[in-house]
Symmetry: C2
Subunit: 171 residues, 2 copies
């Protein structure tokens, strides 16, 4: 947090926003707030600080962290001389989010395509199911376009934000 009370208010506000947005995308609200905090602060944040500043239990932090890690949106870091884990945004979290969304959309399309395949050849329902499949298909295609846009526009800075922190090797 900053020493400017005004900025702190904006920050809290932003964190709440990301919490709500993430919730609408199927993540728990706390995970969204963590994500928002990492965006706003820009530096690696300590595990304990996440719990303290967001006023949630360590258990909640732990499980939300796990979700965000699994989705490739954040990275766990360590700091020599400090036993705590630190977290920062992954290198290109937005591309990764889009990629995940695209995969799920494509999976939906494939499921519908399967249903169509299993239909007898003359089935008059096939056309309508196909419309539905095409909907998912074009959604998927569009997300790929968005992915390319974002990847082109983001030659993401390769500088680590803090030389003392180093990537944690997990599995």
């Amino acid at each position: 947090m900053s020493n400017d009370p005004n900025i702190d208010a904006i920050r809290s506000d932003f964190i709440e926003k990301t919490g709500l947005i993430s919730q609408s995308e199927g993540l728990p609200r706390i995970a969204g707030r963590i994500f928002g905090m990492l965006i706003f602060d820009g530096q690696a944040v300590a595990f304990a600080d996440l719990a303290t500043k967001l006023e949630v239990s360590r258990a909640s932090v732990s499980s939300s962290i796990r979700l965000l890690e699994e989705r490739g949106l954040i990275k766990r870091m360590t700091k020599s001389g400090d036993r705590q884990d630190y977290f920062r945004l992954a290198t290109d979290p937005y591309a990764t989010m889009l990629q995940g969304l695209q995969k799920r959309t494509q999976a939906n399309r494939d499921e519908i395509a399967e249903t169509i395949q299993s239909l007898p050849a003359n089935s008059e329902a096939a056309d309508r199911l196909n419309e539905y499949a095409k909907f998912h298909e074009s959604k998927s295609a569009a997300i790929i376009v968005a992915l390319e846009t974002i990847r082109a526009a983001a030659p993401t800075s390769s500088e680590p934000q803090n030389a003392v922190l180093k990537e944690h090797q997990n599995d």
Copy 2:
């Protein structure tokens, strides 16, 4: 339903799939099943049949129907000589779904843009928030592309499926 037990199984399967897909998109499962049933059957389905065939209460049908109507995904019809309401898919439900998604995405982007505006000019957080805003922006733009694709590809048949049914004028 058809008289072919095989097709009936495929049909039920499909209806369950649409239920799950819709659920992942923030609609109640029953609403998704109704949507799926309307896709598969192709004809207008009576209110009572929705409750019976999906084995859910009329109350659930009523509220899910309301959601689907509000989103512009289905239409209520009447049949002269029949007191029941009938339902069919709206003319281009997929375009409408994409439009809704696009609006919500754009609204998210705008909220973030607002936060950025409220930040003092020299704030070092601005760049990171802007990345986040651009993510939503390109997602929104991509959905518009999908919309155009779908609208171009769907010169939707203008023939009513059943001459006896007529559009219900609601408000």
